[in-house]
Amino acid sequence: MLTQSIAGGLSAGSIYALMALALVITYKATEVPNFAQGEMAMVSAFVAYVCVTQLQAGFTVAFTVALVFAFLLGVGFEGLVLRRTRDPSHLDLIIVTLGFMLTLFGLAGWKWGADQRPFPFPVSTSAVVLVGDVAVSALSVATIVIALMLMLAVFAFFRFTKLGVAMRAVQQDTVAARINGVPARRVVGLTFGISSVMGAVAALLTAPLITLDPTLMWDPLLKGFAAAVLGGLNTPVGAVLGGYLLGVVENLFGAYVSVEFKSVVAFLVIVVVLWFRPSGLFGRHHERKV
């Protein structure tokens, strides 16, 4: 029972961690929490759905098309919308992402309606894999493995490639990066593209578990936010750990205390954590100086 809950929690936590990491890399680059991230991922999942069910494309083609679409959507949103705001405040930019979120939600609902559609996926949702003596669904295993590989790839990218280092430079200090010859604008656009792709992967892994409809990513988005805040918005590793922690805590709470209140325990946890550590569990707290 206990290990079973933890395994389930790790699977849900993988999704939260992906969303949290996607959020944190754009947050670090622009200091704007991107509320549209969930809907961008949802629309990308619909693109894959259309490719598979209506265009009879194979999974490889469909998912590739969806991820490319997600990348372009992220780059486009940054370049055509976010950057066009004139001397914006942080709040202005947050509201722009909210507006984009509502627009995408409306467009998806307009095109595909509110029907809950079963999402075709190469891995079965009903098949069970035995890991040691714990029975886990094949989909959960796939989710955990794919999310982990993707996140490792992203961390490696940030650590070892020139472009990744440039991205981190922009995240740390945009002006200083620019002085040192980093094309900051293009790098920020690229960051949004990568973030959007990570969100899309999370959506592609969530859709087969539940069904596909325009509200698909509402819960993962909010939990991703909660996870990022829990771990610390400025620490990518912290956000990922926050995601796993949140998934496990939530599942344990659902198993042993109350299923009904499972979905808000996340926010109870972050209020308590933030009370003691205002910058998250792993975030560094900067003392303000006058």
Binding site: Y27, P33, F35, V81, R84, T85, R86, D87, P88, S89, H90, L91, D92, I94, I95, V96, L98, G99, F100, M101, L102, T103, L104, F105, G106, L107, A108, G109, W110, K111, W112, G113, A114, W218, L222, F225, A226, V229, L233, E260, F261, S263, V264, A266, F267, L268, I270, V271, L274, W275, P278, S279, G280, R288, V290
Partner: protein, 361 residues
């Protein structure tokens, strides 16, 4: 935004000069006479918009003046609505007593949420308040005392001998409360407390060195804006006659934050304009297909490209698009737009006057 007045008390006075008085009397007269010319369902729309305006006034004090973010104000709206209804049905309290009591209850919760807000800023506070809003609706939805997911039917409220049965009676009560709270918010904003709010927003450390109690004013801002939302919730219950957890969603909280930003942060006029606009959009979201020229066009487009069943979602697209457009095109918000138009009109009038005097010479 506020220009420095030569007389330090000038901006504290509610009305300056005869022109301002005339404008206010005219405005009140229009408000009083509207029910005579508008059909009932339009009054319902106005009531709904007024409720958004009340929330907007509170958000103005919290976000515009004090610089704190909340993504959970639908929770306060829910607390106000349920407190009003339960006080009326369970304790038999008259509406005029239940409404302020609900505001107090809501303010109390606002104070509680203000406590963690003391240590949190920006996105951290946004998430904490978001969690609060979700928790409120979840608790209401799961406890039978609050009617669960089925919601509660609101009894007909009475104000003295007057039964608030029709939209006209409700209109006068809601309009009265809205104007009263508008004056209150404005007075709070320009006097000592409001100045302390803005001092805290601009620099907490500077405010503290000047003797402003930062913690007190930050929690006070939360409590006051929660009280405003609580009153709005009580009025919403009376207006719609039925409340359920499904009304007080996360998206509603988003709308509340969006409307003060669209209006132009830091000005009461902006808050009122933005709230009225978003309130209208929120209510009339499904009505886009009934617009004269655009409607049929949208229907054809739905059949060919999108889907007919999904047509009501056009409202979301329009709302989201307008929100983005408002910020992309007019960073000062509706208030900035207003000021520009005012300046343009004043300019035209000035030029016209000169021309006339020039002609006379």
């Amino acid at each position: 935004m506020t220009d420095v007045a030569s007389d330090p008390y000038a901006d504290v006075q509610l009305l300056r000069g005869r022109a301002a008085w005339i404008r206010v009397v005219l405005g009140l007269a229009v408000l009083a006479l509207l029910p005579l010319v508008l059909p009932g369902y339009r009054l319902f729309t106005l009531n709904y918009m007024a409720i958004f305006v009340i929330v907007g006034l509170g958000m103005h004090l919290l976000v515009g003046d004090t610089g704190q973010v909340s993504l959970g104000h639908a929770g306060f709206l829910a607390i106000g609505a349920y407190a009003t209804v339960l006080l009326m049905t369970e304790l038999g309290a008259p509406f005029l007593l239940a409404l302020p009591a609900a505001a107090v209850v809501s303010a109390l919760f606002g104070f509680l949420l203000g406590l963690p807000a003391l240590r949190l800023t920006g996105p951290y506070l946004a998430i904490a308040s978001l969690g609060f809003g979700l928790a409120v609706t979840l608790i209401i939805g799961t406890s039978p005392a609050f009617g669960g997911h089925m919601g509660l039917v609101v009894p007909t409220a009475t104000v003295g001998p007057l039964r608030l049965g029709g939209d006209v009676a409700k209109y006068y009560v809601i309009a009265g409360v809205t104007v009263g709270l508008g004056v209150a918010a404005r007075n709070l904003s320009v006097t000592r407390v409001g100045r302390a709010f803005r001092a805290v927003r601009d620099s907490e450390i500077a405010a503290a060195t000047l003797g402003v109690d930062v913690a007190y004013h930050k929690t006070l801002a939360f409590a006051v804006s929660a009280a405003f939302a609580g009153v709005a919730g009580g009025l919403l219950a009376v207006t719609t006659g039925f409340i359920s957890p499904g009304v007080f969603t996360f998206t509603l909280s988003l709308m509340f934050l969006a409307m003060v930003v669209i209006g132009g942060l830091g000005s009461i006029r902006g808050a009122v304009l933005g709230s009225a606009l978003v309130g209208y959009l929120n209510l009339e979201m499904d009505a886009f297909q009934e617009l004269p020229a655009l409607g049929p066009l949208l229907e054809v487009f739905s059949e060919r490209v999108m889907s007919v069943a999904g047509l009501p979602n056009v409202g979301w697209v329009a709302t989201g698009g307008l929100i983005m457009l408002a910020i992309l095109v007019e960073p000062g918000g509706l208030n900035g737009l207003w000021l520009r138009v005012e300046k343009r009109i004043a300019g035209l009038r000035g030029r016209g006057g000169r021309r006339r005097s020039g002609g006379g010479a």
